[in-house]
């Protein structure tokens, strides 16, 4: 039975997240909680208009900053729950498009694990996210989010290697709801929809991580691939839209240092290839605080 669960988790999938914890193999002990405040900064000057890599002097550098509040809690040693909410702010360095800002989507995840076979642990993550404010989703690329409600499933296997090294591979699927926009017509592919509802394609990602973990200290390199299951492409010289098939491959490095109750983490990521997305460089730094809930 366990093996079927494992297989199921591996086949199903999940999402790109601002904070890392739902896709690592680390668990809080029972009744132990960790709060985090994470600052993120992601920016790009080049983007892929369909497959054409280009810049846009009427945007310059598009910067997305975020401040995310997050909490993780150990229900048991094998079941953790996490919740997070980011405040997001966008800004273009050139041109005249107005930056957007606001609270984006709240997300909640449950993560569980079971020993699969020698040295391998299987994890399942399920979660959802819901916009908490009525932000404008289709003023892209200035919008702070896509406005979808989503449900996510991630299957993950972690392999314990010698010398505190580990390997983490995961695959995830994200089901995304349609979105209601202010406009009453839009083009999807080359079809004119006379509706204020937009079908946002579902997405999946796959990731592999190699890291070092000793006690609560961690250093990791990773590669992720994110893609929509379908969608259209940005038309020549047009703006991106919710229906786009966004694809990107990201590489990065993540570290966490937690000597005691207070810790820090940091991440750097870079999009090496993509379609209908910006070639962003992202950094994030966070302050972590562990505490016991009685």
């Amino acid at each position: 039975m366990k093996k079927i669960f494992i297989l199921l988790f591996c086949l199903l999938g999940f999402i790109e997240l601002k904070a890392q914890m739902p896709h690592d193999g680390i668990y809080m002990n029972k009744k132990l909680a960790c709060g985090a405040l994470i600052y993120g900064n992601s920016s790009w000057t080049n983007y892929w208009e369909n497959g054409l890599k280009r810049d846009n002097p009427n945007l310059g550098r598009l910067t997305t900053q975020s401040a995310t509040a997050m909490v993780a809690y150990g229900i048991t040693r094998d079941i953790n729950v996490m919740a997070m909410i980011p405040y997001v702010k966008t800004d273009a360095s050139q041109g005249n498009l107005m930056g957007q800002q606001g609270l984006q989507d709240v997300s909640v995840f449950v993560k569980t694990k079971t020993k699969a076979f020698h040295g391998v642990t299987a994890h399942g993550v399920v979660g959802f996210s819901v916009p908490v404010t009525n932000y404008v989703p289709d003023f892209m690329p200035m919008s702070i989010g896509l406005g979808t409600k989503s449900l996510l499933v991630r299957g993950m296997l972690t392999y314990a290697l010698p010398s505190h090294l580990y390997l983490n591979s995961s695959i995830a699927y994200q089901a995304r709801s349609k979105v209601t926009v202010d406009r009453d017509a839009y083009l999807g592919a080359s079809t004119l929809y006379q509706s204020n509802q937009v079908s946002v394609p579902d997405a999946f990602d796959a990731a592999i991580r190699l890291g070092y973990l000793k006690k609560d200290n961690q250093l990791e390199i990773f590669a992720e691939h994110f893609s929509c299951t379908k969608g259209d492409d940005i038309r020549r010289n047009d703006m991106p839209f919710l229906t786009n098939d966004m694809t990107m491959t990201t590489v990065g490095i993540y570290g966490k240092y937690q000597p005691k109750k207070i810790g820090v983490n940091a991440k750097i990521a870079y999009v090496v290839d993509g379609q209908n997305v910006g070639q962003s460089t992202s950094i994030s730094v966070g302050v972590l605080y562990q505490f016991k809930i009685k």
């Binding site: 002097p57 005249n96 107005m98 569980t112 399942g124 003023f139 349609k178 083009l187 004119l192 839209f241």
Partner: protein, 502 residues
């Protein structure tokens, strides 16, 4: 574990419902068949028999054609096509035109040398695609489409009642048509008239869409036979009439001045003129690289419902100058929105933005017009008539507004440090195109649908406000554009009163 399974089930249920709901317009029987429409005044044709529709073939031959309908068996796709086109040929071709406008409404990208190539009608699918279906272009395309449909249908109505051929289901009541019926004689087919006329106009306006339009045309001409409301000879005669009328309408289009509407050579003179009448700060492109102004000579395109002298006489007066008290007041309004735009203001700005990738404000108003015509169960000819007045008013609004814009060459709010939440058009500010288009269309629609006049005028006012909320127009651009648009629409209303339809 069981919680996780419950969640998985919820996920699968949630992800199912991704269908986008659109209003489905069902086929309807017209409230009135408009028997006398053959005598209504046309726009281009001098009279409704300018194009000859040949006499009927013999009764025996017609009987044979009618009999051939009996054995016809339709596929599911053919039945779906009947339901689709049965909602109205004028309506569907208008929708097709709006879809094409949206697909082609993207400004050209600059090339590596920082130059914006001009779309080339002889090579329409190359980058940049021809046309750039911006609001003036789309207003014009839709105007010619509706005028061609209207003139061709007036002529068709004339012949329908001249030849008085009974519809197949009248001749033989064992034939069960798939669409609602009326007492309208069937020769020539009004659906074929509209299809062929629309095809000719849209192919001229969107020359890269030959295969797409040919497929629509073929289906549209099959549908009346599939639906058993016409026979092949009705369709052939209708298509010939539609093609001939559209050719006459295109003769006007080819000589209406559009070919020189993007003449950039006149720009220095326009700038010199604006300075000479006292404009202190002039419009300048805010794009990088600097983009030449859109259609600086569109104001010289031939109007429909008033003459050149009238165009000049109704031009809005000179706007206030930067630094004046009135200017500072309008600038302050924008600065407040720039700092703290409300979500409601953003929503209104977005709803009416109709920017790149959309069917533009003229398309938005054609959609409103179509919906109102369907609600009133207009006949095909009455629908085309209403759209012809809305369409010509919108094109006149574009011409008069562009003439005003380049007459004054006034600066955009972005030249005073403001951002925008909808994107900045690349042409002078005063007056607002959205306001002019919207008030022109709304005043025509108010004339046709007096019991909905308040709604249409409120919509126009909201469209006008949207440009202030989106931060790309000063308040005065919108109020003066709205007044201008109202006056322009009223010329169409006056013309409609004398065409014999009411």
């Amino acid at each position: 574990m069981k919680y996780i399974f419950s969640l998985l089930i919820i996920i699968s249920l949630w992800s199912c419902d991704k269908s986008v709901s659109e209003t489905v317009i069902e086929p309807y029987a017209p409230a009135k068949v408009d028997e006398t429409a053959g005598s209504w005044k046309t726009f281009i044709l001098t009279n409704s028999t300018e194009v000859i529709v040949p006499a009927l073939n013999s009764d025996a031959e017609y009987k044979k054609e009618v009999d051939s309908l009996k054995s016809m068996v339709l596929t599911a796709d053919q039945k779906a096509a009947v339901q689709y086109w049965g909602a109205g040929a004028v309506l569907r071709w208008n929708e097709i035109a709006r879809e094409l406008a949206a697909r082609y409404n993207i400004p050209p990208a600059a090339n590596a040398a920082g130059v914006y190539p001009v779309p080339n009608a002889a090579d329409p699918l190359a980058d940049p695609k021809f046309p750039f279906a911006n609001p003036p272009y789309t207003a014009r395309a839709l105007a010619y489409l509706s005028v061609a449909q209207y003139d061709a249908l007036v002529s068709a109505w004339k012949y329908k009642y001249q030849y008085n051929r009974p519809a197949p289901y009248v001749l033989d009541n064992s034939i069960k048509p798939l669409l609602p019926t009326s007492t309208l004689p069937s020769y020539p087919s009004e659906d074929a008239v509209v299809a062929q006329a629309s095809y000719v106009i849209l192919l001229a306006m969107f020359p890269g869409e030959g295969p797409f339009l040919a497929a629509k045309l073929a289906e549209a001409k099959n549908v009346p036979v599939w639906a058993k409301i016409n026979v092949a000879s009705d369709v052939t005669a209708g298509a010939n009439l539609g093609a001939a009328v559209a050719a006459k309408v295109m003769a006007r289009a080819k000589t209406d001045g559009m070919s020189t509407s993007n003449n950039q050579a006149i720009v220095p003179d326009l700038i010199a003129h604006a300075k000479s009448i006292g404009l202190s700060i002039l419009w300048a492109s805010q794009e990088s690289p600097v983009r030449p102004p859109m259609l600086p000579n569109y104001g010289a395109v031939k109007t429909w419902n008033f003459d050149l002298a009238t165009l000049e006489s109704i031009r809005p007066v000179m706007p206030y100058l930067p630094g004046s008290e009135a200017f500072n007041k309008d600038l302050a309004e924008l600065q407040t929105i720039n700092k703290s735009q409300t979500r409601e203001q953003a929503a209104i700005a977005n709803y009416w933005a109709d920017g790149p990738g959309s069917y533009t404000p003229p398309g938005h108003w054609h959609r409103y017009a179509c919906e109102a015509g369907v609600d009133a169960k207009y006949s095909e000819v009455r629908m085309a008539r209403m759209l012809a007045y809305v369409g010509t008013a919108l094109m006149d609004a574009g011409i008069a507004c562009w003439e005003t814009k380049y007459f004054y060459y006034s600066p955009r709010p972005q030249q005073f440090g403001l951002k925008t939440s909808v994107g900045l058009p690349n042409f002078p500010s005063y007056t607002s195109g959205h306001s002019t288009f919207s008030y022109a269309a709304a005043s025509v629609l108010a004339g046709f649908f007096p019991d909905r006049a308040n709604t249409f005028m409120a919509n126009a006012q909201q469209a006008s406000d949207s440009r202030v909320y989106g931060l790309i127009h000063f308040r005065v651009d919108c109020t003066m554009g709205g007044k201008h648009g109202k006056a322009i629409g009223d010329f169409a209303v006056q013309r409609a009163k004398t065409d014999g339809a009411n």
